[in-house]
Symmetry: C2
Subunit: 337 residues, 2 copies
DNA sequence: CCGATCCGTGCAAACGTTTGCAGGGAACTG
DNA sequence: CAGTTCCCTGCAAACGTTTGCACGGATCGG
């Protein structure tokens, strides 16, 4: 029964015996059409299964009610939750989300962003891995851009305050008595990884701790693979780029018979839901992801309304202490036990 | 430097001293424009930062190179991985993905699907929670629809074979000696939950086992909350709706001091990456999610090329046995140990 | 040197929708 | 009953792009 041809406004009009404009008005809820005609047109439209052509509508109206979004990796629960917040706000204002995943590839992200520029009325770059030059190019484009978890000029900026977060992690570990810390890093192109690294370096030096930096990544497999190197450093506490990496590392430590937190403490950023269900439950930095998304929409809607960008927002994460962190083993710290 | 006005074809033409059609031809790579003009127009377009208006282009071309996708919950890693496969295929053919999340709400899913119908050239419904009546309505719409993990007439169908999967789970548990099984179910509107329930009921009866059905859900919290009820059934093995639920349940069992698999075995569907990192690692049914997405695109592209729908595809999952399943306790089964 | 050929470019129509403007008829007022 | 008002509806232009068609100039052969 599905007709090959798409049913247009003119088809409805002909069938209903009215003009195109009348149909258009009825379907857009105009009050100035008589009651009978309104009902009649509505029923005809319904019977024919009329659906407005999005492209034509947007062309005429000159607005595209679509927000393009790029994320490095949808499989990291961090991003879907940001998208939930963003989507809720956007939907409330009649905007859709056009979500694309770059697969952690900066070049692919550039392609996607350029693509989206011609199909969306605004752009949200989540944890952008773009090189600065390319980021500037996108920001110079015709549509407003919000960066989540990355700072930039000429853009809306909504970030987790990883400086504060890193400080909280180190304070927690220092209080427990740890002095030798390993950091299992994230993707090289990650801005937030850079933030954390710099902060960790500065603070460990200042606090008289020792920091070992280890190549990591963004997934559980990366964490598992980093296991041997972590152990080799002799660190008593490990901070990982995110919870997925931490969970992978926990798994390796378990398989290898290293006790957590008995022999080594593990902690991380993000506090995604499964962190609470890890064995042992993971000490992690909770950030308000949905709030991050809502704020991103807030910035965007202000800008779309013609205002200037609101000042950058930094959301301070809060440390959720669970069982994966504890005092260092007797020979690894100052405690005598 | 960002000009408020969007730069159009006519702006480039005026600046380059040519006509609109010439610019259009150059930018679309037509061969029939002289070399010099081509270069000149290109450079002018680049200088002005011209970006084609997507809406106008699509209107004129009459095709929307966009595939709308609905998923119940992006936070379940199952879906992002399907999207990866789908997106890869679609991108290769010059299509974009327009992803929407229904939040497990059938009404919201209906709204989204209708929305998408006017903005996309095809639809992919992942694990649709739509009521049959509404599903039919969408299928009767003007654009082709693929259902992932749900069967339907007049649509492309790509499913995991949960019948076979459920059989494998039961066989595995039966071989270990279990006789009393609990099933922690999924969302009421889930088609795949229905499939599993029916199969589990039929097979347990046939195999002389006892099945207890428990209300569950789709997230870790649902699994955690189901803990007491699971324990009350006295079942020696639990099957859960998905791995997130299983991980939540594992966590409750651990908190409560119930040994897994010593006192009760736990197993589930999907085998998402974290399943391997659960404590104990989860016995689960691996399904090829990316392949599911690729096949969905395969069906769609065949249909978009004008062919009929390919016959429905059922992907058989394979059981990945890990440490969360074992023999039942001595008093719980026929084995004497 | 004139006519035919061919290549490069411009003109204008069309895609499906919205909306300002105008026109026609009914109702109401004087 | 004529004039005015007001409500409802239709006409046509416009949004930015693509593309069939036509046209003008250069090139070439006879």
């Amino acid at each position: 029964m599905t007709s090959g041809r798409r049913v247009r406004l003119v088809d409805v009009a002909r069938e209903a015996g009215t003009s195109v404009s009348t149909v258009s008005r009825v379907l857009n809820g105009s009050e100035q059409i008589s009651f009978e005609v309104r009902n009649h047109v509505r029923s005809v439209a319904a019977r024919l299964g009329y659906r407005a052509d999005g492209a034509a509508k947007e062309l005429k109206l000159g607005r595209v009610r679509t927000v393009g979004v790029t994320v490095p990796d949808l499989a990291n629960p961090f991003f879907p939750e940001v998208l939930k917040g963003l989507g809720a706000g956007a939907r409330g204002a009649g905007y859709r989300l056009l979500i694309s995943e770059s697969g952690e590839d900066p070049d692919e992200e550039l392609r996607l962003a350029e693509e989206l520029t011609s199909h969306a009325s605004a752009l949200v770059l989540c944890s952008s891995r773009l090189r600065p030059k390319h980021l500037t190019k996108i920001l110079d484009g015709p549509i407003p851009v919000v960066c989540v978890n990355r700072t930039a000029e000429q853009a809306g900026v909504v970030c987790v305050d990883y400086r504060s977060g890193s400080r909280q992690l180190l304070d927690h570990l220092a209080t427990l008595g740890h002095r030798r810390i390993a950091y299992v890093g994230g993707p090289p192109a990650s801005w937030s990884d850079g933030q954390r690294r710099r902060t960790l370096r500065t603070l460990t030096r200042k606090m008289g701790m020792r920091l070992e930096e280890i190549t990591g990544g963004w997934s559980g497999d990366h964490g598992y693979a980093a296991g041997p190197e972590v152990l080799a450093t002799g660190a008593t506490a490990v901070i990982t780029f995110n919870d997925l990496v931490a969970i992978g590392l926990l798994s390796w430590l378990h398989d290898t018979g290293v006790e957590v937190p008995g022999a080594v403490s593990v902690t991380s950023y993000d506090d995604i839901p499964v962190a609470a269900y890890a064995r042992p439950p993971l000490t992690s930095l909770r950030n308000q992801r949905a709030q991050l998304g809502r704020l991103a929409w807030g910035h965007l809607s202000a800008r779309l309304a013609g205002d200037q960008w609101p000042p950058p927002v930094m959301l301070t994460p809060t440390l959720t202490v669970r069982a994966s962190t504890g005092r260092p083993p007797a020979d690894g710290g100052p405690d005598t036990r």
